[in-house]
Amino acid sequence: MGAKRGRKPALRHPQDDLLRTDRIPHIWCSGCGIGTVFSCVLSAIKKSGHPLDDVAMVSGIGCTGRMAGYVKLDSYHTTHGRAIPFATGLRLARPQGKILVCSGDGDLLAIGGNHFIHAARRNIDITVVCVNNFNYGMTGGQLAPSTPFNARTTTSPIGCPEEPFNFCHMAAASGAVYVARWTALHIRRLTDSISEALQKRGFSFVEVLSPCPTSFGRRNKMGKGLDIVKYYHDKSVIRNNIDPKEATLDFSTNLVVGKFVDIERPTFLDNYQLINKRELPAWPASTDKGAGKKAAGLV
C-alpha cells in the first residue's frame, strides 16, 4: 500500500488541447469546485465554436484567478480586482473574438466591485464567470461580500456581521445583458449558460456557487467538497427569468438558480461608433430654456 507511480494512459484527456498540461496538477484543493467550473468553462468555449486563437481569458488574483494560468489561450492573470478593466482595454483595442473574465467573488465584487458595475453599465462585450465560494479562498478563508450572514470565516470567527450582495441582482441593476446562476454541480446547465453568454454581445455574467472545503467549508463544518456542492445543489431551485432581485440565496430555505436576464442592448463600442458618426440629434431634445418666468410648485 505504499505510494505508487501513476501510469500515464495512452489517450489524452479531451481538454488537454485547451490546458497548459505542463502546469497540471493545478493548485486547487481536493474537493474544490473551481476545477469543475474550469472544466465547464473549457467545454463552453469549445461549444461556442469561436476559433480558439480568438478567445482570451482574463483573471484577477485568487484561487479562481488561477484559471488563466491553466488555460491554453491568450490568458492574462492580472492584479486583484482589476481583471475587468484590463479586459475592457483588451476588448476595446481588439473588438474581434471573445473575452472571458474568470475570477472569484472577492476579486470581482469586493476589491473589484466598482469595475464590475461600471463594465456592466457600459455594456463592455465580455463574459464574466464568477466562482462564488462565499469567501476568499486564496488567502485562507476570510469573509467576502458573498459570505452569508452569521457564517464563520477566519475574519468573522464568531459569525459574519454583514449581509452579502446578491451578485446577480447587482449585475442586472448595473446593466448586464445576460445573468445566470448555477451551482458547480449543474455542469450541463452551467456549460450551456457560459456558452450562451459567450454568444451574447455585451456584458454577460454567470455566477457559480462552488464549494471551498478547505476554508469556508471547514470553518462552517460543512464536510468535504463533495458534501458541500451536493448541499448547494440540493438546496437549489431553478427559477428562470425571475427578477434577479428575487433570486435570493437563503440557506434556510433555498438557493435560487437559473437564467435571470437575457436582453439586447448596444455595447460600448456600438454606441461609440454610433455617436462618432455625428448623426444623432443633440441632447437633450428640448430644454425650454429661458422661457420666461413660470411659477413652479417648489414643494
Binding site: 497548459r20 505542463d22 502546469r23 480558439l52 486563437d53 480568438d54 482570451a56 482574463v58 488574483i61 488563466a68 494560468g69 491554453k72 489561450l73 491568450d74 490568458s75 492574462y76 492573470h77 492580472t78 492584479t79 480586482g81 482589476r82 475587468i84 478593466p85 484590463f86 479586459a87 475592457t88 482595454g89 483588451l90 476588448r91 476595446l92 483595442a93 481588439r94 474581434q96 473574438g97 466598482n114 469595475h115 461600471h118 460600448f268 461609440y272 462618432n276
Partner: protein, 385 residues
C-alpha cells in the same frame, strides 16, 4: 473620417495638448483615463481626437481602472497611454507594477501639481519624482522623461512611446502643471520624419515562442491577443514561459531581467542637454519646468561673469549616475532647484560622493523658482567654493 493623425505645422499649443499630439504621432490609439487637474486637458483632447482616427477614448471609473485598461489595450495590440496627476498617479501604482512585471509597453503622463494629498490642484509641483521611481511595491527600474516646454511635451511623448516599445515597460512622462498648461509654439514635423520604434513581434512559431525569453538586448518580443501565440502573462514571479514559479531562483531571474534591461542600456536611454558647462565652476542641474528658471539664472550669472552652467536632465530615470560622477570631479558645486523638498537631489548627492558640494534649492510648490533664487544659490555656492 478624414481627420489628420499628425498635425504637421506650427502651433500655439499648451503642453497637455502637445502631449496628445506627440502620442498620436507616436501611434497611440488608446487612451484610458480619468480627469484630474492639471492633466484633464490631455484626456479632453484625446477624447476629441481619437474617435476620428480609429482610436479609442474611454473614461474609466477611476485611475486604477485606467491603468489596468491601458495594460489590457497594449496586450490587445494598441499603443496606449493614460494621463493623470499626483492623486491619480498614486492610485495607478499597483498596476504600473503589473505593467513592469508583465513587461507591457505603454505611457503614463503625470502632470504634477503640488502635494501631498489634494494639495494645490491647479498649481505646480515636482513632488512625484521619487514616487515615479519607487511608488509601486517591490524592486524594479523605470524610465521617466521630464519635459520643460510644450515642444518637449510633444517630442518627449514620442520618445516615451519609443522607449516603452524598445524596453517593454510603462514609461513615465513627468511633466508639471506649468508645462502642461502653458501655451507656446509647438512645431510638429512631417509624419515621415518622425522615427518610431515598432512593437517587436515574435520571430518564431507559437510552439517555439517563450514570451519572456529576451533578445540579446534583454527585451523579449511580444505577441498580442489574437496573434495565435496563446501567451500567458502574470504579475506573479514567472519564468521565460510566463509561468508562475514560486521560488527565489525564478525571482532572481525575473528581477534581473526587468532591472537589467534598463541598467544595461543606460547610454541608449539617458538624454540630457548642457549649456555653458565648458568652464563652469557651478553646475545647475535641473529638469522639467525648474530647468527654465535655472537656464535663465545661468544666463544671468554668465552676464555677471560668474562661471555657472546648466545640466538639464531630459530623462530623469534612470538617473545619469556616470555623468554626475564625472561632473562632480569638475565643478565646485552642483545645485539643483526642485519644486519639492529634496528628491532628485538625493541621487545627485549620492553620485557626487563628496567630490563636490551639492545643494538643493527647495520650493514647496504652488509656483516655480524665480531665476533670482537660483542665481542667489549660484552666488552663495561660488562664495563657499
Amino acid at each position: 473620417m478624414a481627420a489628420k493623425t499628425v498635425l504637421t505645422g506650427t502651433h500655439f499649443m499648451n503642453g497637455d495638448y502637445a502631449c496628445c499630439e506627440g502620442a498620436i504621432a507616436a501611434g497611440c490609439r488608446f487612451f484610458g483615463g480619468y480627469p484630474i487637474t492639471p492633466a484633464t486637458e490631455v484626456a479632453e483632447r484625446m477624447s476629441s481626437r481619437l474617435p476620428d482616427i480609429g482610436g479609442i477614448y474611454i473614461q474609466m471609473e477611476d485611475e486604477l481602472a485606467s491603468m489596468a485598461a491601458v495594460l489590457g489595450a497594449s496586450w490587445g495590440g494598441m499603443k496606449a497611454m493614460t494621463s493623470t496627476s499626483g492623486p491619480g498617479f498614486s492610485l495607478m501604482m499597483e498596476n504600473i507594477g503589473l505593467g513592469i512585471c508583465t513587461e507591457t509597453p505603454c505611457v503614463v503622463c503625470n502632470v504634477q501639481r503640488a502635494g501631498p494629498s489634494t494639495g494645490l490642484p491647479t498649481l505646480v509641483g515636482q513632488g512625484d519624482m521619487m514616487q515615479a521611481r519607487w511608488g509601486s511595491h517591490g524592486h524594479y527600474e523605470i524610465i521617466a522623461v521630464a519635459p520643460s516646454s510644450p515642444q518637449e511635451m510633444f517630442d518627449f511623448t514620442i520618445r516615451a512611446f519609443n522607449l516603452s516599445e524598445q524596453y517593454r515597460l510603462p514609461v513615465m512622462i513627468m511633466a508639471d502643471e506649468v508645462v502642461g498648461h502653458m501655451t507656446e509654439k509647438v512645431v510638429i514635423p512631417p509624419e515621415d520624419s518622425i522615427e518610431l520604434v515598432p512593437r517587436r513581434r515574435p520571430a518564431v512559431p507559437p510552439e517555439k515562442f517563450r514570451p519572456f525569453k529576451p533578445d540579446p538586448d534583454g527585451v523579449a518580443p511580444m505577441a498580442s491577443f489574437g496573434d495565435g501565440y496563446r501567451v500567458h502573462i502574470t504579475g506573479l514571479t514567472h519564468d521565460q514561459r510566463g509561468y508562475p514559479v514560486m521560488d527565489a531562483i525564478a525571482q532572481e531571474d525575473m528581477v534581473n531581467r526587468i532591472v537589467g534591461k534598463i541598467r544595461n542600456n543606460l547610454d541608449d536611454i539617458i538624454r540630457y542637454e548642457t549649456a555653458d558647462m565648458d568652464d563652469a565652476e557651478i553646475a545647475v542641474v535641473a529638469y522639467g519646468i525648474a530647468a527654465r528658471s535655472a537656464r535663465r539664472a545661468v544666463r544671468e550669472a554668465r552676464e555677471k561673469g560668474l562661471r555657472a552652467g546648466l545640466l538639464k536632465l531630459n530623462t530623469v530615470w534612470p538617473f545619469p549616475e556616470k555623468l554626475i560622477r564625472e561632473l562632480a570631479g569638475n565643478v565646485h558645486a552642483m545645485i539643483m532647484p526642485e519644486i519639492n523638498y529634496g528628491q532628485m537631489v538625493l541621487e545627485l548627492e549620492r553620485c557626487a560622493a563628496g567630490r563636490c558640494t551639492v545643494r538643493l534649492v527647495p520650493h514647496a510648490g504652488g509656483s516655480i523658482h524665480s531665476p533670482k533664487t537660483v542665481l542667489n544659490a549660484i552666488e552663495t555656492a561660488l562664495k563657499e567654493a
